[in-house]
Symmetry: C2
């Protein structure tokens, strides 16, 4: 039932129709800046919620609840009457006709299009690994990992063969960046503290966590000092860190590392980023990682009225190198672009947008309870103080006061008790065979083609 | 890989092997009582969590998080070294050989078997309605209802035809018992308060909630006074209450009530209880509702060493009529049976178990914000005081201090702000076609045959 797009209510002016694709860190800030200036805009996302990605690993490791790290986009933007939110998946961008087609059949016309659809995990051409090694980009990903992780312990408990028990309680994490380090640390702690007393047949403390990194050190974007600290902390937690090691195959119950096949209970994928296929569909040139190179004002060269920011864009930093794929980069870009678009909307005549300049607020990663690294230029912090700073910053950055309160309560509780409250195995994962086809869901990406059906049978 | 069942660790005596099937309100109490007495026992459940069913409707209406109402069974029973928890689905009970077969291939031998597998919702012979009208028995059910409910509003928002908008924002609840009344009240409030400001194209306040009950009044097990109160409260919230009305058909986007077909955005099933198929499989006679009639000591006549309690059992009350399917009945039965089995374990020679006697603690139902009914014998309470009492009792009954704290915080927050924090649409429900086959998952029932595959494609 295709229908013309009704004009947003509360539209103060009859300026250009601005459409923001994706309500991740970048897109949300564009919408906020436009909304604050009363400029009409439409936000399109295939999820109803904005996801606080930095805490997603805590959902995957049963520390937080899915709803703690997700906030309805609609609620965040409710206070801006000029901003309209459309829940829908983009099927195609028809730039020659300046409109989006949604999979539900609706169309959305635009004059200005902001691409903020983010990235998802890539498998370096081995998409067949996806079914065995879930990544961590969405709430569903986090629930899948949580369920499979807890399921591995449950299966080990009812197993009577020691070899099989050992296999089931061997968890491999692929990728030694911040996500991989955070996951490995959190899983080691889950098994050592939260699960320790609960089993009769196995001792969760004997869980083996393998952290596999192809590069020469963990946390490659941090200093050597931070890398060494992270490695030492993780090894103290019992994590086996394997550097300079390449994964050559992943199967249902094993992983092949450096030519050696190792039985595992679960593989978690924390390596490889793949940009949404939107760039390819638009016919613009992309860089090696599939990102769209943008001009300093974040416009996409060759596509008039189209801008890109966040993980889908390759935006030059001060040193000429592309800015890293960080939440703070996307946020700052969003604020900048939103304000510039609003300013131009007010201005008489056509004004050029000012170039974007990134200001780093520092970089942090968690390495287990009480331990984190934080770096900002020459300032380096590690250990307990960095961990406290990380916790305060992340609670503060959470959208919504209720989330801040409940996350704080849960963290305090876990801190005092070592417990993990959210140990929920989803019923549709229980005893289910693995998905028959690779499942590749694109993160905050309304333009992804999520075409693979995932058959889910709840019982054999 | 079938294997002999290893003996539970920490077994103090070599008494009978006691196996408890299901860790709902009844089974859990049996296990606790046995554990407290140091008697070895094995608890089998197909879920890893105990579900606090009375608050499940709040998960379905985006007020609480799934993890708030679920607690790992293993953690609840961790402090009893004589109790072992096995996560698994029972394929078959072979009573002649006194063993359970799990779908994973393991066997569990028993001398004493406690059936506490509960009930699920039944569709009065219309299993084809299940795909259109989800019921509310499991976490997955609650997530499904929440996603479909929020999705209906999202679809209405992007819709331009008023008739279709009206259809999408018409929600029918079938069944006027406590669950139906609670659901209808919570949905009306969700649309009037939490969603009211968030949409541009629709006004959620115009949401129509239909509450359809075949009997002559709401809350049939309460007094006429309570029924009238509930009806008046719900109507004040805008719920259209239809009594003495039978549903004759349910389809994808309509419901046929008293011969008239009505377009709806979602139907929620809160009628009809069906007992797990275990009773039929055991070959014992069952009552009209499929429940197993038990002797006063909760033993199953004709099956030596087998006991049944909770929703799967039909246990005679003082007046000779079967006790109602309430959590408090199951809990009291569980405590009684657990203590009796422990006592007999200690006793020299074979001692008969004492008969169970039920003591009602009263009956409560919520009729929206600030309003509840509570009845205990001649004592009747309704309105704000009943609501406060309900809230305190339910927080107190939640297993685990962390849950009490986070649920209290969230309730307080919602009370002050009218917000609903857990407005999460699951990605696998988004834009997904309805399941091709009826999905009938049995609640706390390890013996259910969950054989229907539910194909889930995330995009058309």
């Amino acid at each position: 039932m295709p229908a013309a797009d009704p004009p947003p209510s509360g539209s103060a002016t009859s300026g250009p129709r601005i459409v923001v694709l994706g309500a991740g860190f970048g897109g949300l800030e564009v919408a906020r800046a436009l909304g604050a200036a009363g400029v009409p805009a439409t936000v399109v996302d295939q999820r109803n919620h904005h996801l606080f990605q930095p805490l997603l690993y805590q959902v995957a490791t049963a520390a937080l609840s899915a709803t703690d790290v997700a906030e309805p986009i609609r609620r965040i933007l409710a206070k801006y009457p000029s901003v309209r939110v459309v829940f829908g998946e983009v099927k195609r961008v028809e730039h020659d006709r300046k409109r989006l087609l949604l999979t539900c059949g609706k169309e959305i016309a635009y004059d200005i299009l902001v691409l903020a659809t983010g990235a998802t995990h890539g498998y370096f051409g081995h998409d067949e690994w996806a079914r065995f090694a879930p990544g961590l980009k969405s709430i569903e990903d986090a629930r899948t990992i949580r369920s499979r992780l807890l399921l591995a312990f449950e299966r080990a408990e009812r197993e009577s063969y020691p070899d099989e028990q050992r296999r089931l309680t061997t968890i491999a994490v692929v990728g030694g960046g911040p996500t991989g380090v955070e996951m490995a640390g959190a899983i080691a702690e889950l098994s050592r503290f939260a699960l320790a007393r609960d089993f009769r047949n196995i001792d969760p403390i004997t869980t083996r966590v393998l952290l596999i990194e192809a590069g020469p050190r963990l946390l490659g974007t941090f200093s050597q000092e931070a890398s060494d600290y992270a490695r030492a902390r993780l090894e103290r937690l019992g994590v086996a860190v394997r550097l300079g090691t390449v994964v050559s195959d992943i199967a249902e119950s094993s992983i092949e590392v450096a030519g050696v096949r190792e039985p595992v209970g679960l593989v978690i994928w924390a390596a490889g980023v793949r940009v949404s296929p939107l760039a390819a569909q638009l016919g613009v040139p992309t860089d090696r990682a599939g990102r769209i190179p943008v001009a300093p004002d974040l416009s996409v060269p060759g596509l008039e009225g189209v801008y890109a920011l966040g993980d889908i864009a390759s935006s030059p930093g001060e040193d000429g190198r592309p800015l890293p794929g960080l939440a703070q980069v996307a946020k700052q870009q969003g604020v900048h672009l939103g304000r510039e678009l609003a300013r131009r909307n007010e201005a008489v005549g056509d004004t050029a947008l000012q170039p974007f300049r990134y200001e780093s607020r520092g970089n942090a990663a968690i390495v287990g309870r009480h331990a984190a690294v934080f770096e900002h230029g020459r300032h380096r912090l590690s250990g307990f103080v960095a961990w406290i700073a990380w916790a305060i910053v992340h609670v503060y950055l959470l959208v919504g006061f209720q989330h801040r309160l409940t996350v704080s309560v849960q963290w305090l509780w876990r801190y005092l008790t070592y417990e993990r409250g959210a140990r929920l195995i989803a019923e549709d994962v229980v005893e289910a065979p693995l998905p028959a086809q690779p499942r590749l869901v694109n993160a905050a990406n309304p333009a992804s083609s999520r075409s693979e059906a995932e058959p889910q049978s709840t019982a054999p």
